[in-house]
Symmetry: C2
Subunit: 148 residues, 2 copies
Amino acid sequence: MNVEEIIKTAKKMPLETRTLIHITLIHNKIYEHVGNALKPFEVSLQQFNVLRILRGQKGKPANLSTLNERMVTKMSNTTRLVDKLLAKGYVDRNVCPSNRRKVEILITKSGSEVLSKMDKVVAEAEHDIVQHFTKQELEQLNLLLDKF
Amino acid sequence: MNVEEIIKTAKKMPLETRTLIHITLIHNKIYEHVGNALKPFEVSLQQFNVLRILRGQKGKPANLSTLNERMVTKMSNTTRLVDKLLAKGYVDRNVCPSNRRKVEILITKSGSEVLSKMDKVVAEAEHDIVQHFTKQELEQLNLLLDKF
DNA sequence: CCGTTCCTTTTGTTTTAACAAAAATTTATC
DNA sequence: GATAAATTTTTGTTAAAACAAAAGGAACGG
């Protein structure tokens, strides 16, 4: 991926700026590829993330705020993400008996099943994106990214 | 930035997945910091990008499609981005005399002036984001990012 | 020329995200 | 125990992005 070619500039830009534009371009690429992989399932990347988090709970229900703190979106939108998954039958939602302000969200059997299918295509998409990296390069990259 | 801490997982995830989540988190950070820096000017990051591209034209007008291919958004939204900048008096828009399908967009004096002020705060924000990197590390990072 | 096709931009619609505030319940204080 | 304050979630609204299609003009082939 050649930054200068993509944004069509001949001008030399500061290294800091180039780095951040670079990250943005890569992010777009990730978003597009993974989003496309999920398209047949008719779920957004965010919905996929919710399902993954719920699976990580291993049967333990998650509150909305738990989901939310593990995601990038705003609380109010997390509610509506869950609404969509509920409509598809991929999650259950109940008021928490010990604290009726809270809700408990669980992934359903149907949700787990479709999630494992999604995993496959997402893993492929991810692999495509990093195909030009060796394992060592990826490790090196992660070390550098940790500095942000 | 500790990925595992942010997404609150103890589970070891595949290196490829970790890398891509990492990039997404960094992108969010960039978007948030730079967006905040621009907030006092009441322009979005995308509007700022349009202005920067127009300045890069050095007086030569840009067509919408030129703007668009240097950005990540869809054509239809580029029209509306320019609408907003027009309303603020930061750009001029005229139909191209040699081909009346096209439009010619130019940055105005007023646009150039605010852009140079924006540059300052954006450069600061960018510098903040990469503050933990040495120049060499940034160069190394860019080499790795080129592999995407 | 006239119709067809292609190119560039705009308009319309739907979905998603951001921002603000309200509703419902629990906890704390007096 | 009533009132206020804090916590958790939902609802409402506005702004931005994604998707689809139409409008307007240019180019081309007969």
